[in-house]
Amino acid sequence: MIDEKFDAIVVGAGPSGNAAALVMAREGLNVLQIERGEYSGSKNVQGAILYADALEQIIPDFREDAPLERHVIEQRMWTMDDRSHTGMHYRSDDFNEDKPNRYTILRAQFDKWFSAKVREAGALLLCETTVTELVRDLKGKVIGVQTDRQGAPIMADIVVLAEGVNGLVGQRSGLREEVSPDSVALAVKEMHFLPREVVEARFNLKGNEGVVIEAMGTITKGMTGTGFLYTNEESISVGIGCIVSDMTESEVTPYELLDAFKKHPSIRPLLEGSECKEYAAHLIPEGGYNAIPKLHGDGWLVVGDAGQFVNAVHREGSNLAMTTGRLAAETVIELHRKREEMSEANLKRYLARLEDTFVMKDLKKYKGIPALLHGNKGNFFGTYPQLISQAMQTWFRVDGVDKKSKEKAIMKNFRETRTLRGMLGDAFKLARAWR
């Protein structure tokens, strides 16, 4: 039993909780972190691309010992129909820099490493322990947590909820609504192992260079979603995710979607001969700015996926998680130093800090995108990918038809399938949502 009172309790040891706990502990706060898994990372799933900047702000020399797989030098964006992909690739030797900007990682290993840093900074970590509820005083202020271990509640001045997308503690304590099926995606993912040389030859890589592929189109069978394939040192992460409400209406299972993606003629050769060693599933909050719940109150703050901090358009989540964790920690440190109360009014400074960063700026910029894609999913994830593929094929196939007639045929196909007005409308809506 723990009867000491902490300056802060952090619920969860993913990137948001690890960032928050580390920053607070390093500044001398007495921090307890509680994680339900056997170790930090044992419950966590990601693609996974790590964006260096957010981590660098917390651990500047992370490159020295963090378990990084490959630094990303090439990004492939694919629009797919059933038999083809149309790609936009960007590869640059500039990404072979001293301090690369993006890396592929394996979350179970990365989180474990991050967690060791948190403990080195002086935080106490309690694993294999699930927080079951928040403890409040008579005025409703959060003053601690109850766990599934026997014993009295554990007390603290502030509870930072870094509990991830399901956010059971916050929901059951009435801090926020349950997430809705149309604002989360269900993603399934497999880990495919191949010898290092095979990965490098197949993707045209040297040393620790890496390639990532993001794909959309008929692979999601008309549902709002995307597929991905990332190169790791000796493995490939491959996965696909769709909005849960779309999947509810369809008949297809998530693993059938994944298997079909893996069998796609553009993907299959990349995985040829590999051995699958893990199958994982996880939700991704994709509701964007409009889905952000209340983030602070008397004695509590919310960070990371629990606060819906994911930029689905750019597939960024872990960096928003680390940044929100750090900003929450900085807010708490400031109040702690000034001996000010962890009240709702004082904790509002966390929101002000958030507004100043890319986190809120980006989420605001794209606030119209989730509804737009979802409302037009048949077009964006079915009709357009097919039309694009047909246009490409008409254009590239040399068959005696003159180019002018080919142009006409392409335009006619677009117009007949989607009407000029429909296309202009979609372009307009997309441009407006993108602003």
Binding site: N44, R107, L186, T253, E256, K263, E278, Y279
Partner: protein, 101 residues
Amino acid sequence: MNEMTTIQTAKVEEKLYQNRYLVDAGRPHIRVKPHEVPSAGLLAMIHLCPAGCYSVAESGQVELAADGCLECGTCRIVTKGTGEIEWNYPRGGFGVLYKFG
């Protein structure tokens, strides 16, 4: 029909076989409450659950075997309106253990 439009039925058991679990024997963390007729959401879990934990009995009720559960929370979110299932995380330390994540 070409190969891509007919999706072969994948065996989810084979996928789950790759994973590590620590099963809390006799203490399932998710329970389907007794019901006469399942809601559309609960029925959808039969295809929606990424671990294939849900099935329908001959009598029409939805059943659950949570051993292979990946703890994604999808079934919890889909049935939140009807309250047909009782969902908790496994006890600390139990459940799926990702080696790679």
